[in-house]
């Protein structure tokens, strides 16, 4: 055989054709049947074909080897161009257009084929293989399309029809094109073009999707001119003599792109552009992607469901693992669906991968999905060419889920929601800026808008809260849990009796505060947390944050004792006046412990009796309840101190009981203060309110002792646990120690009564607090019990071993 020199374009083209004909996949011999078909498609007289066959030496060999095949192709090109068949002409003819093969079944194609100027059309290759009638039609159209660009805007009219058809083929065919590219991972653009073009066909034929492969052929058909033209658009001018694609033809090419070949063109183009930025999507590529997107999802603002995308990208014949990775990279919002941006990114990655680029580990910035608005603006300029396509998807995508149009309706909503989310963030940020300038307003905005349901219910009077808030900056609002976190430090800080007492009183008196005041409540809440547990609506979690903080101020515990009455006496006018609301007990607390030990001696049995007694007779000496004190002592050493105070206490034994129990409770309460803060919720609130109510409802004489006693009884169970909290005992001791000798308010009867009233009130508040604390303690214990039970269950299986 004569040596055959082929241009690169021809080389690739011929090799593709050879592969196409190599149905047996021998890579050496083209099956005669295919070759015959191919030659027939060349629309040359049979005599010419015979001559060619002889010339190429196939007749001698009896089969078409690769070289023979190439020679035959070249001879066909020569014959088609009208030159005489000469062996010498094989190498002498310059700028020989690629042989054209037209599908014999399509007259239209033949016409079109004839229309194509040689200079422009390089190897428009029509599918020779038999195709289903329907497909044929479409293929014709696609072929037309393909040819169009080759004609370089020669026939704009057919485009209108072809686009309609092509789109539905493009998706299936594009993968073929891709596959083609994959075969040639490297190489310059020029080399790629024809190779891509030709390569498209053979693989397309091999595809399981027979009809689709026809499209692939068409794709390849158009690919050469497209590729070359595309290349010219991009950096490296192709060696081909194809005329440059006009901008108008860009649209044509876009239509063509819908054909599989377009994909190859794009790939080449991408490759060329990829040299500059491997991941940058050129406009043409994006156009193509958008068209592809439309074939699946007519609504450009909609989503492509995962299943449809999977089918689409599976056609690219990339390994599932790589497709999975591409999906992970491109599905930015991880919603299982692809927006236009995500789809373009995924498509681009697939193309790159087919071109041999390794997949990145992270999504490149250029592929990051942008705002949908940008996409819309980009797509506006292409209404015309896409109009035709819009109709095609309807009929085209039979394999696509028909539910997509319906799904698309949801997706725009999602998209809109995304946009809303974007704006939402802006809104929130702007609101946050306000906090810096106006602490009062700040809390309302961010907290109510964004802050999760943090407790806020802190009951402390809003007034106090706001006052506290004013002192602080807006920093407290930033973190919903910060207030709770801030509580512990505040708790530790506010060991001052007076302040704590005041807060306590406030908190006790107030109900739940609104969420708005939450931030403002932070400070006071923190200080009052321990006392407030019952009132604080803080979520358990928020309270838990407070759990660690040190026990509430000592006075707290001290006054939670029933000894408030004593405290009332000791502080008489001062503290009680200063604390109009309940719970003032700060000062009084010190006193109560004293009577406790004495009262303890009178076991809870004497509840209702003595309680009132103290009111009536403040000067009553403690009944001989001291006997109980020794019992208390081992539990609470503080009570030993109380015995000293017994002399001072005028309260009846009941008070003492209250005091004792209260003291114990307080110990437990203090220790569990933080815990209570955690757990105090409505329960404590109810109880405290109940306590308060009971306290309030009862006569000034009776109430305090009664509720206290009941609590004490219930708390007896807790006492052992109270022992665990030596802190309380210490606190109590300190409180007691700080108590100076209690002055006796003998004075006038009126004054005494008033003082007693005040003391009773204080006692009420103290008791109310005590109740709440005890409730919380109970909750804590219950939780501990539950956890222990769970642990027991966990260990149970192993017990069998």
């Amino acid at each position: 055989m004569e040596s055959l020199t082929l241009s690169d374009v021809e080389q690739k083209y011929y090799s593709d054709l050879f592969v196409y004909c190599d149905t047996d996949n021998t890579k050496k011999v083209a099956s005669s049947g295919k070759v015959v078909e191919l030659f027939r498609a060349a629309q040359l007289p049979s005599e010419v074909l015979l001559q060619i066959t002889e010339l190429c030496g196939a007749t001698r060999l009896g089969h078409f080897g690769r070289s023979q095949f190439y020679i035959a192709l070249k001879l066909i090109a020569i014959a088609q161009s009208g030159l005489p068949l000469r062996v010498e002409s094989l190498n002498s003819v310059k700028d020989l257009p690629l042989p054209r093969f037209v599908v014999g079944k399509n007259e239209q194609e033949a016409k079109h084929a004839a229309m194509y100027p040689d200079s422009e059309n390089q190897g428009l290759y029509s599918g020779i293989f038999p195709r289903p009638p329907g497909r044929v039609q479409t293929k014709k159209a696609s072929a037309h399309e393909v040819i169009q660009p080759g004609v370089s805007s020669a026939d704009p009219q057919p485009d209108s029809t072809s686009p309609v058809v092509s789109p539905h083929h493009s998706p299936p065919t594009s993968p073929h094109a891709w596959r083609k590219h994959k075969r040639q991972p490297s190489g310059g653009n020029v080399d790629r073009q024809p190779a891509v073009a030709t390569a498209v066909w053979p693989p397309s034929f091999r595809e399981a999707q027979g009809p689709v492969s026809g499209d692939g052929m068409w794709a390849g058909h158009s690919s050469p001119p497209l590729q070359e033209s595309w290349v010219s658009f991009t950096d490296t001018p192709p060696s081909s003599t194809l005329p440059q694609m006009h901008p108008s033809s860009v649209q044509e090419s876009t239509t063509i792109r819908t054909v599989a070949s377009a994909a190859t063109t794009n790939e080449i183009q991408r490759q060329s552009s990829a040299y500059d930025d491997p991941w940058k999507i050129t406009d043409e590529q994006r156009q193509y992607y958008i068209n592809q997107f439309k074939t699946i999802q007519p609504d450009l603002t909609g989503f492509i469901p995962g299943s449809a995308a999977k089918e689409f990208f599976t056609k690219s014949k990339l390994p599932i693992l790589e497709l999975s990775h591409i999906w992970e990279l491109s599905d930015f919002d991880k919603d299982g669906a692809l927006t236009l941006d995500e789809f373009c990114a995924a498509f681009h990655l697939v193309v790159a991968r087919k071109n041999g680029y390794d997949l990145p580990e992270k999504l490149p910035e250029s592929l990051m999905p942008k705002l949908i608005d940008l996409d819309d603006s980009a797509e506006v300029p292409e209404p015309a060419p896409d109009v035709g396509f819009s109709s095609s998807p309807v009929e085209v995508t039979p394999n696509k889920s028909p539910s997509m149009p319906s799904l698309s309706q949801n997706w725009p909503e999602l998209n809109q929601s995304n946009e809303q989310w974007e704006t939402f963030s802006e809104r929130s940020s702007s609101s946050q800026t306000l906090t810096q300038f106006d602490s009062n307003i700040a809390p309302a905005d961010p907290d109510t808008a964004i802050v999760h349901p943090v407790p806020i219910r802190m009951t402390p009077s809003k007034i106090h809260m706001q006052e506290m808030e004013l002192k602080r900056t807006g920093s407290d609002h930033t973190h919903p849990t910060s207030p709770l976190m801030a509580k512990p430090p505040e708790l530790s800080e506010e060991n001052k009796l007076p302040s704590s007492i005041k807060l306590l009183s406030n908190t006790v008196g107030d109900g739940y505060s609104s969420s708005d005041s939450f931030t403002s409540d932070q400070e006071p809440i923190s200080s009052v947390v321990t006392r407030q547990r019952s009132h604080s609506g803080a979520s358990p979690e928020g309270l838990k944050a407070v759990a660690p903080p040190p026990p509430p101020p000592r006075p707290h515990a001290s006054h939670s004792r029933s000894s408030s009455l004593d405290m009332n006496r000791s502080f008489a006018a001062g503290p009680s006046a200063a604390q109009p609301q309940t719970g003032v007990v700060a000062f009084p607390p010190a006193v109560p412990p004293r009577p406790l030990p004495t009262q303890i001696s009178c076991p809870l049995s004497t509840q209702g009796v003595g309680a009132h007694g103290h009111r009536s007779g403040e000067g009553d000496s403690l009944p001989p309840h001291c006997s109980t004190s020794p019992q208390q002592i081992p539990e609470q050493p503080n009570f030993a101190d109380f015995s000293q105070f017994q002399a001072f206490t005028e309260q009846p034994s009941e008070d003492g009981e209250k005091g004792v129990d209260g003291a114990q409770v307080e110990k437990a309460v203090e220790a569990a203060g933080p815990l209570r803060a955690v757990k105090s919720d409505g329960q404590s609130d109810e109880r405290s309110s109940a306590v308060v109510n009971s306290a309030k409802g009862s006569t000034p004489l009776a109430p305090p002792p009664k509720p206290v006693r009941r609590r004490l009884k219930s708390e007896d169970e807790l006492r052992p646990e109270v022992d665990e909290h030596p802190q309380k005992s210490n606190v109590i001791a300190t409180v007691i120690a700080t108590q100076p000798s209690i002055p006796r308010s003998v004075g006038k009867d009126k004054k005494a009564i008033q003082a007693s009233i005040r003391r009773n009130k204080e006692t009420n508040t103290v008791l109310a607090r005590l109740n709440s604390e005890l409730q919380q303690q109970l909750k804590d214990l219950l939780e501990e019990r539950i956890s222990l039970e769970v642990q027991l269950e966990q260990l149970r299986p192993f017990s069998h071993l």
Binding site: G306, F313, W327, E328, D331, D335, G336, Q794
Partner: protein, 139 residues
């Protein structure tokens, strides 16, 4: 930091298991396998009480000398098992919970991938990176 992370499917076969390579990995495989019994027990125990609610985080399944095993079950009966070194006492319960939360999120992302067939082994690189992030860094 975990020493071994495993994802077990509903049918109790592993979808993903990865351990610190320095140690005998087979031992961890056994550990995870035995932990499945404990998981089943916990799941069945709670299920009777509250069929609707069941905490996903199972907590410490069982401790051994060298390490502790924590479990987590999703609502689709996919189990996550984390084995941590006992010497690492600084690990708090919240940290374990956050690890499981991250695992669950990455697992959800893997599920969302249409190219992933439920029941296949998890080969997602993103998932691998998440797991690597929580494994002991010694390796």
């Amino acid at each position: 930091m975990a020493v071994c992370v495993a994802v077990i499917a509903k049918e109790n076969y592993p979808l993903y298991i990865r351990s610190v390579p320095t140690q005998n990995e087979l031992k961890f495989h056994y550990t995870v396998h035995t932990s499945l019994d404990v998981v089943e027990e916990k799941v069945s125990a709670v299920g009777k009480a509250l069929a609707d609610q069941r905490e996903l985080y199972l907590g410490l399944l069982y401790p051994t000398e060298d390490y502790k095993v924590y479990g987590y079950v999703t609502n689709s009966k996919v189990k996550f098992v984390i084995v941590v070194d006992s010497s690492n006492t600084s690990l708090r319960d919240n940290e374990i919970r956050s690890m499981f939360r991250k695992l669950h999120n990455s697992f959800t992302d893997v599920m969302c991938n249409p190219f992933y067939n439920p029941g296949d082994a998890i080969q997602s690189r993103a998932f691998d990176s998440v797991v690597s992030g929580m494994m002991v860094q010694a390796c």
